[in-house]
Amino acid sequence: MTRFIVRRLLLLIPILIGLTLLIFVFIHLLPGDPATTILGERATPENYARVRAALGLDLPLHEQYLRYMGGLLRGDLGRSFITNRDVVADFAQRFPATIELALAAMLFAVTVGIPLGMITAKRRATWVDQLGTVGSLIGISIPIFFLGLMLKYLFAIQFPVLPSEGRIDLAMQTFPRTTNLLVIDALIALDFRGLLDVARHLVLPAIALGTIPLAIIMRITRASVIDVINEDYVRTARAKGLPERMIDGRHVLRNALLPVVTVIGLQIGLLLGGAILTETIFAWPGVGRWIYDAVTTRDYAVIQSGVLLLALIFVVVNLVVDVSYALLNPRIRHS
């Protein structure tokens, strides 16, 4: 087991070097020049040279890469072109909002997706199953931004029952933001009215972001349960007279969930990418909205560092998923 973890950790090094190289190459070698993009085509040569020097673009390439890597290792990714604020600090301040949204979306996807997958598998080839299959296909095919707009129109404009912007009503913000995960903060302060308000703000964005993972989890659960239902040990369990509910819980679901766990891990990239769209629609003050704002203001320092940091987090989370999966499944550990 230790060898497995060490091997996976070592594999992280080439990926990290490659990732930074990839982003570095984008910045410096592809056609187009950030200095021109910042200043526009009609900049004076003096201004142009000044901006290039400020970005370190006048140094030889290998020196630029070393400078960039040195900064990265010190946790310094530079400053925003627009606000001149420290990029890493800004990222750290907004990231909890994105985590909270992603976790809520995943909670929604798992608690609805797994039971639906189980039900459609048990009623295979009935109208329930067909309805579920069509529904999950539509769920995969709806873009987040369209679903988000429709949810916002239905539940915030046409029937105004839920808030559709921000994380909390300012009037409710009476508890201290220690972790900046507002659900946790409200719980620590035992502020249940605040907690309710935070939860209400989470509903629409979490549904918008969680629908695609829900559909995928439902499809995988269905396929996996169908595989397991036909196994010998399930027939044995039924033959020895176990009640159906016990067969489903103890024998079917437990064995069917392994592939589902992997798929849940694979959804993290989807959630991080989708967060940009969801946060844009619901004015959610997370990392996604921050990157979107950077795109509209052409703040390349923020775009490049935001993408790099999200990719790093994605890589590390994938590693954690791999390792925990190995802990769950002895067959992987020993291969």
Partner: protein
């Protein structure tokens, strides 16, 4: 004689598989529905000039916010008085164009590297697959945003950005198929009678590795449509803001949602129909090409 004798059974079998798959596809309800949806959008794209009732770009401010089914405005008009139906029809052109371009680049480049990795193995394989790991370690939409932000806005740039998401996926799939095929009886037989090098790869292995690639390409077309629209929605669409692009159209409606929800509805539905079509078709293809399901 040796090479010909070895080739014959393999080719006969591959034709059999395709014909069999096509027969099953024609009776598959998902394939028919999905095919019809995709066909509808392809026809809209091809005959956009004939179908459009108005100029998709020129607006008429005197006629803004006309609700759907009024006069000759089937889907109504937007803030600038542009006809929504005409914009959607022309948008199909742009969206399908980007999708086809990006998936074609993704398949060609991905197949090239996947074939190198799967055929040569050793350090070539190791190097290519590490690169694939790195590219897959950036969430797709994020990669596309970064690429378009740096390359500048434009249709070709969007296609390249989405192609970059696809390249590692196709490379990995093809490599996997090739590794499995190395142990297939007819490949071992071909090698035993002296077929070597490119001939073995191109004539015996690649044709038999096409199935998973075709399925993935179909599904990738759907994802490309969503990604292209997402870039447009985020303000990274075509440089001319008047361009009829579905994602841009949705972004434009964002501020007018309470006043004119139909403006968001029609481009959104166009995206859903196109993507659902490709997904249905991809699923049906997967089932039809799966040798385990052959009767």
């Amino acid at each position: 004689m040796t090479a010909a004798a070895a080739t014959a059974p393999a080719e006969e079998r591959s034709i059999g598989l395709w014909r069999d798959a096509f027969h099953r596809l024609r009776r598959h309800p998902g394939a028919i529905t999905g095919g019809a949806m995709v066909l509808m959008m392809v026809l809209a794209a091809v005959f956009a000039p004939q179908l459009a009732t108005h100029d998709p770009v020129r607006g008429d401010l005197a006629n803004s916010y006309i609700p759907p089914l009024t006069g000759d405005h089937l889907f109504g008009t937007n803030v600038q008085g542009q006809d929504v139906f005409s914009r959607i029809v022309y948008g199909a052109r742009l969206t399908l164009g980007i999708a086809v371009m990006s998936v074609t680049i993704g398949v060609l480049v991905g197949v090239f590297f996947g074939a190198l990795a799967g055929y040569f193995r050793g350090w070539v394989d190791g190097l290519i697959m590490r690169m694939v790991d790195i590219m897959l370690s950036v969430p797709g939409l994020l990669l596309a945003i970064a690429v378009v932000a740096w390359l500048g806005r434009g249709v070709v740039q969007i296609a390249i950005a989405i192609a970059l998401i696809n390249i590692p996926i196709f490379a990995r799939i093809l490599r996997g198929s090739l590794l499995a095929l190395r142990e297939a009886d007819y490949v071992i037989a071909a090698r035993a009678v002296g077929v070597r090098g490119p001939a073995l790869l191109l004539r015996h292995m690649l044709p038999n590795a096409m199935g998973p690639l075709i399925v993935q390409a179909t599904l990738a077309l759907g994802t490309a449509v969503i990604d292209a629209a997402a870039l447009g929605f985020l303000g990274l669409g075509p440089p001319d803001p008047r361009t009829p692009e579905w994602g841009v159209m949705l972004a434009d409606t964002y501020r007018f949602l309470s006043r004119a929800p139909y403006l968001a509805f029609f481009p959104g539905i166009a995206i859903v129909i196109t993507v659902l079509g490709f997904n249905l078709l991809g699923d049906a293809l997967r089932e039809s090409l799966d040798p385990r399901l052959r009767r």
